[in-house]
Structures are given as C-alpha cells and as structure tokens.
C-alpha cells in the first residue's frame, strides 16, 4: 500500500471519527448526568465518579413519569398506525393510478408539511376545549397523524414507485387469485417501505413537544417530553436535574434501537421522499 493511499485512508478515518464524536458528544453528557449520585450532580465531571441507578429508580416510582411513558407510547403507536394506513392508501393512488386532483393532493400535503404548528395551537386549543378533546389521547393523536401524513405519503409513494408491479400481473397469469397475488407477491415487496415509514412517523410523534405542552394539562395525556419540562424535584430545594436526565435517557432508547437496527432503511426513507421528485 502506497504511503499516499495510507495517508488518505487515515484522513478519512479521522474525518469519520470527528463525525461520530460530534454526533454522540451531547448524548453522552445526558447519560453521564443520569447516572450521577444526587450529591455529585453538580460537580461538572465528564464521567460520573460513582455510577448509580438512583435517578432511574426515582422516576419509575412516580406516576408522573410512568403514566407519561404509557401516554407517549400509546399516542405515538395509534397516531403512527392511522397515519400509515391512510398514507398507504393515498400513496398507492399517487404511485399507481391516474386520477384528477393528484397534483392538488401533493400540493396540499406539501403545504401541510410546511405548516407552522404554532399557528394551529391557539385554534386547536379552543376547538378541543369545546369538543372535550383537550387533555385526552385523541386530542394529541389528531394533530400528530395530520402532520405526519405528508411525510407518510411522500415516503410511501417513493417506495411504491420502485415496486415492479408487473409481477402482480405475472402472478395472475400463473393462476393466482387477486388476493393471492397481493398477499404473496405485492405485500412482501411493499412491507419494507411501509415499515420504514412507520418508524419515521413514530420518531416524529415521539419527538413532538409544542402540541404536547399546549393541548394537555394533567398526567392523563401528557407525553414524556412535556412531562420532563414539568418535573419538580423531590423537595422544593432540589433541582430535578437527575430525574430529567434519567427520563431523557429512557425516551432516547427506542430511537437508538431503531437507528441501530434499521439505519439503512431510515436513510433510504428520509431521502426517498425529498429527492426522487
């Protein structure tokens, strides 16, 4: 191997290392904080002197956090399911069928993808109070699925365009019924795209903060990001730093798991909708 080649390789290696450090640096700090003993929380050490589970035990003993975790999971899963089902229907039509108003649909979803959520907070706050949806799961599921629909439609229609639909016809020629053709040929081809879209939509719902603090008032629908912002220390003289850090780490875990398992697909999904256009 020539020295020039080695040097280039080292250069790219260092660049990679810088990128990895850049991405993980702040994450490490919140992890470190969450494992610190309450007495050493404010020592500013980059690595905890003693590791402890105290903060985690603390938050799992309060319904403030456990209830919020249940809310977060339930709301995100339901909103994701509805958005993916409606998105799949629309994306199939966009990718495969010829019909008037296709441009309108794409235009509307683009508008909504750009819609500033704060503009909806004041009217939705009032509408939901009147309808009795304020501070309920449905009150958050509705805006979440709406704002994730454009994402779902774009990503899914990009995936669906890649599917060789002629296989369906071929299966029918070979004697498969329409249902068999769908179940055995098309569904397995479409599943990865639907699954990836589900992950992206879930991350979107999981991440939301503005709607979560505006459209809830008690633990009955407050999700974890909102609950964290309302954490109080166990006494009024104690800062809730440890609890916040521990709760923050807990809600980061699913994201890290998704990213580790499905990074290739997530990248494909993120870029498919935006660039294929």
């Amino acid at each position: 191997m020539s020295t020039r080649h080695t040097r280039a390789l080292t250069g790219w290696g260092i660049a990679n290392l810088v990128v990895v450090l850049y991405a993980l640096f702040p994450v490490w700090w919140i992890v470190a904080l969450s494992f610190k003993d309450p007495s050493t929380l404010s020592d500013g050490d980059f690595v905890p002197r003693t590791w402890t589970w105290t903060n985690y035990r603390g938050i799992f003993q309060t319904s403030e956090f456990t209830r919020a975790l249940v809310n977060s999971i339930g709301i995100a899963v339901i909103a994701t399911t509805i958005a993916v089902v409606l998105g799949t229907m629309a994306a199939y039509a966009v990718a495969r069928l010829r019909f008037p108003g296709k441009r309108l649909l794409i235009g509307v979803s683009l508008l909504i993808a750009m819609f500033p959520p704060i503009s909806l907070v004041s009217p939705l706050f009032n509408i939901e109070r009147v309808l009795g949806l304020f501070d309920t799961w449905a009150g958050l599921i509705i805006p979440y699925m709406t704002f994730s629909l454009p994402l779902a439609i774009y990503t899914l229609s990009a995936f669906f365009r890649e599917i060789p639909w002629d296989l369906e016809k071929a299966a029918k020629v070979d004697g498969a019924t329409p249902w068999q053709a769908f179940r055995l040929v098309i569904a397995p081809l479409a599943a990865p795209g639907v699954f990836t879209t589900g992950i992206l939509v879930f991350i979107f719902c999981w991440n939301d903060f503005l709607f979560a603090i505006s459209l809830t008032s008690t633990i009955s629908a407050r999700t974890v990001p909102a609950a964290i912002a309302f954490f109080t220390g166990s006494s009024q003289f104690e800062q809730p730093t440890g609890s916040i850090a521990a709760a923050a780490v807990i809600i980061t875990i699913p994201i890290v798991v998704f990213v580790l398992l499905f990074q290739r697909r997530i990248v494909a999904g993120l870029t498919a909708g935006a660039v294929k256009g």
Binding site: S119, T271, G273
Partner: protein, 315 residues
C-alpha cells in the same frame, strides 16, 4: 374458478377491454378508486389545518381574554395593530430570522462536508451513518436539556471551561449563539442525508473527467458538483428554512425565551398560555403562517425550487 355464464358475458365481445368504451370505463374506475383512496388523507389534513387556520383568523379579529370569555367581542384589526406596533413582535421576528439564517447557512456548509465524508467513506460507513442518525432521531427536548445542563454553571462541563462567573444562557447574544449551536447539532445530519442523496445523482464520470482536465478539488466542487446538486440543495434549504423558522423546543428549554431570545413561536405560546389572550395569540399565529407562506413562495418562485413530488405525470 366458475366458468363465465349468463347472456351478458356471452354477448360481450371477448376483447372488451380493448375497445374505446372499455378503456374509458377502466379509466373511470381507476379515477374513482384513486379519489376514494386519497379522500381520507385529504379530509383529515384539511379538517385539522384549513378549518383551524380559518378559525384562528376569526379569533384574531376579536378581543378574547380566556379569563373573561363572556366579554369576547369583535375588534376588527385591532389585535394586528397591537402586535405589529409592539416591540416584542419585531424583536421576536428579528431573533427568529437571525437564528434561521445563521443556522441554515452553517448547516448547509457542515452538511455538505458531512455528505462528502459519508459519500467517500471507504470504511466505517455504517458506523458514521448510524452515529449521524442519532441527532436526527433524538427528542429535541432531550438534546436541549443536555445542552442546557452543559452550559449552566454548576452542572455543566462546558460552563466549567468558561471564565468564572459567566452564565452564557442568561445573556442575549451568547444565548442566541448556543440556541443556534443546539439547532445546528440536531438538524445538520438531516441536511447531510438530503445532500448525500443529491450527491449520489452526480455522475462519477463527469467528476473524473474534470479531474483529468486538471481541475482542483475546489474547482470540481464549485464548477461541477454543486451546480449538478442544485435541485437537491434547494429542496434541503427550503425544508430546513421553514423548519428553523418554527423553532420552539430548543428555545423553550434553553432560555424559556428570556433576555430577548424568544422566537415568534415562543411569543405566540406565551400570549396564549401565560397571558391567556386568545385574540392576540391567534393574530400572532396568523402572522407566522403568513411569514412561512411568504418564505415558501420566495423559494419556489425566485429560486425555482422544485416542489418534491411534483414530478411529471407518468407511470
């Protein structure tokens, strides 16, 4: 399969689908199915955005204090007058525009560098991609708390590096800088991924041809790669500009909008939930919506950003 029976089937000519009448029936069915499949998504999207924004417009023309709901009455454009003559609005707008412009510009440069690294990475590609997706996926509030603690004297390792007694998050300019830093950290990966996809569309032969002709790396980037990536860059810029303009989570956690660091979204939130003024809050909502529409219009008309998905109709 049951064999076709009945007079209708027998009477119909075998290649029925190929006659003009048959094709148009097929097309009509296709059209019906298409509209039917899109209807639920469109209805949901319109019901949850178009109706509320109309309602916000209506609310913004009233004096409506949530503490005295029975005293709500029509005031015309008075709320807009109050917002547009208030220093708070212009201050928040200035801060928002500044944060948007600086963070998007920095993200573009960093994102491009990151995309080039990921594009050229010979080994560890998976690791880099995984690492880069962490900031994208992480809950913004979580990242914001990490930054907030890091920069707060007492809990922070970064604050410890600063001279004694400085608390950057309590001063306007340092705080804005840190908000931008948090925003850039979180969203550069997304920008980089969009640019990476654009970079993949640049043909290798073209770049190699420029190399053979003796173009330096800078020349190749400026004269060959970037022009070919223009559509991808514009889409990425449009998305990120509109996204940055809506900034809320980072500011809420890092400074709460104090010391002149609040964005327009923070201002709208405060007027609604701290001042409980639905009329003024709605007027701010409508104004923000107007700003976003204006930005989108400028991008599409002036720069000719292709709207994603608006591809020529083909199958």
């Amino acid at each position: 399969m049951t064999p076709p029976t009945g007079a209708r089937d027998a009477a119909a000519p075998a290649p029925a689908v190929h006659t003009p009448a048959g094709r148009s029936r097929g097309a009509r069915q296709e059209r019906r199915l298409g509209l039917l499949l899109c209807a639920p998504a469109v209805i949901v999207m319109l019901a949850v955005t178009a109706y509320p924004i109309g309602y916000a417009l209506y609310l913004s023309l009233q004096r409506y204090d949530l503490r005295f709901p029975e005293q709500a009455h029509w005031v015309g454009l008075a709320n807009y007058g109050a917002v547009l003559t208030s220093n708070f609005w212009w201050q928040a707008l200035g801060v928002t525009v500044l944060i948007t412009a600086v963070s998007v510009a920095v993200e573009l440069v960093l994102g491009l560098a990151l995309a080039l690294v990921m594009h050229r990475a010979v080994f560890g590609r998976g690791t880099v991609r995984t690492a880069v997706l962490v900031p994208y996926g992480i809950v913004t509030v979580v990242a914001a708390y990490s930054w907030q603690y890091a920069w707060t004297p007492g809990t922070g390792y970064l604050a410890a590096l600063l001279p004694e007694g400085s608390a950057p998050l309590t001063e306007q300019w340092p705080a804005i800088g840190l908000i931008i830093l948090a925003e850039v950290w979180k969203t550069t990966p997304f920008m980089a991924l969009l640019l990476l996809a654009g970079l993949a569309l640049v043909p290798d032969e073209t770049v190699r041809a420029a190399m053979v002709d003796g173009a330096t790396f800078g020349q190749r980037l400026r004269l060959v790669i970037l022009p070919l990536m223009k559509p991808a860059i514009l889409v990425a810029l449009l998305f990120r500009t509109l996204d940055a303009f809506r900034i809320f989570d980072n500011i809420y956690v890092l400074t709460g909008g104090s010391n002149g660091t609040g964005s327009v979204s923070i201002l709208g939130y405060d007027n609604l939930f701290t001042a409980l003024n639905l009329g003024i809050g709605s007027a701010i909502s409508v104004l923000i919506f107007g700003c976003v529409a204006l930005i989108a219009l400028v991008f599409v008309k002036l720069f000719g950003a292709a709207t994603p998905g608006a591809e020529p109709e083909h199958r």
